[in-house]
């Protein structure tokens, strides 16, 4: 009996509120012939958003490792935490681009997986983490290449379309940053590796302080 009254009350409250509030509005009538991205290319771009976030979480795990009390490499931690936020920015840049081109007007809820776990969470030393970072960047670069390949192929899925603008954007903005970032990491690995030749512990300690002060 109580339950029935409760249900009646809920239904009454709901019908009153729907009668009063206009929460939903009609979809505007907008021409769609300006939206010209083709499907296989959009799919690749959406996957790349997830890839960038995966890289962000991997860097987060590196930052967490080098922050630990018994590891105590704050310079490495700073480098990796900053890299994590940069990767997240890359994901957001890709999303902004898709929105600019009229994409992501639907199917947004499954664009990002809600839980991503890093593949590795422990490193032997600083140089092995830097090497992992360089490998990660190289794999991201290859994936951006794959996006470009799909998006500039007019034969793709029968759509006679080469996405010049997107390909230019990916090449000029994303690949540019990838190649510069990779060179920077390779340089760091080279210096650290040589510093550790005779005095491994001291080399890493000094390198970490330099990273922390922003000298390198």
């Amino acid at each position: 009996m109580k339950a029935t009254i409760l249900i009646l009350l809920v239904v009454a409250a709901f019908s009153v509120s729907t009668a009063q509030l206009q929460c939903f509005h009609r979809k505007p009538d907008i021409p769609t012939d300006w939206i010209d991205m083709v499907n296989p290319c959009v799919r690749k771009m959406r996957d790349q958003v997830q890839e960038e976030l995966k890289a962000a979480i991997q860097y987060l795990a590196m930052g967490a490792h080098f922050s630990r009390d018994t590891i105590n490499r704050p310079g490495f931690a700073k480098l990796f935490f900053e890299a994590a936020s940069e990767e997240r920015q890359h994901a957001m840049k890709l999303i902004s681009y898709l929105l600019m081109r009229g994409e992501l007007a639907s199917d947004v809820s499954n664009l990002i997986r809600k839980h991503i776990e890093p593949q590795t969470a422990d490193w032997k030393d600083g140089v092995s983490a830097l090497k992992d970072a360089l490998k990660l960047e190289a794999s991201v670069t290859r994936k951006i290449h794959d996006v470009i390949k799909v998006c500039e192929d007019p034969q793709n899925a029968g759509n006679n379309f080469n996405d010049y603008h997107l390909v230019d954007y990916l090449t000029g903005e994303f690949l540019e940053e990838q190649y510069k970032g990779q060179r920077d990491l390779a340089g760091k690995i080279s210096n650290l590796d040589k510093m550790m030749d005779k005095h491994a512990a001291l080399g890493e300690y000094l390198f970490d302080k330099k990273l922390l002060s922003g000298e390198i």
């Binding site: 206009q22 929460c23 979480i57 922050s67 009390d69 994590a84 994901a91 992501l104 809600k114 839980h115």
Partner: protein, 227 residues
Amino acid sequence: MKVFIVVAAFLVTAYAGTNDVCYKNVLRACETTSKNVNGLINCNARYGAIEAVLPDLQTYVNTHITRSFEYLLMATHYGNYEKSREGFEKIFKDLSDSKWEEAIDLIKYITKRGGKMNFAAVREDTVNDNNGSYELYELESLAKALDMEKQLAEEAHRIHGEATRRRKDYHDPEVSSYLEEEFVHKHANIIRKLSGYTSDLNTLLNGPDSSLALYLFDDYLKQHSIV
């Protein structure tokens, strides 16, 4: 028997005071002839209740990351050309940014107190909510955000409680104070703002031209910060 004595001795020293455990470690490490680099296991940063609240803090980090992703999806929805609501896009992007920054801050805090981050520690009801939609109408999206913020606030209260109310050994004012300063007050501000927005929008949508009202409301959100 020998083992028993060693264990008993260890327990006695542990109870006698945890203050000189690291020192004893150091003495032992310096006395032995063979180099023992990993001999200082007791010279860590752990003290107080960190051991007790660590799993909760780890889960709290992961919940922040998930919320950051969810807010990003909500912002993305408002950025599409059909919705085109810059104000809503902005508040959800700001919320996404702040959850991300707080996740990093929490990881740093965990390690400051001698803990280790665990990215696998998640709340099942947070990550497995697969039918959750982020393509929401304006009032719905504010309601969802308000609920998510309250859940984060109450989780902070719960962890705070672990570090204050439980057994005497678990009392840890440093953890409580950190949670208060970095989370509890911020939550109150965001929750109050979201509740105010929900109330305003509720009134506005009740008027004769709710569509125009929404435009003006969105324009207002554009100029104000939620975090």
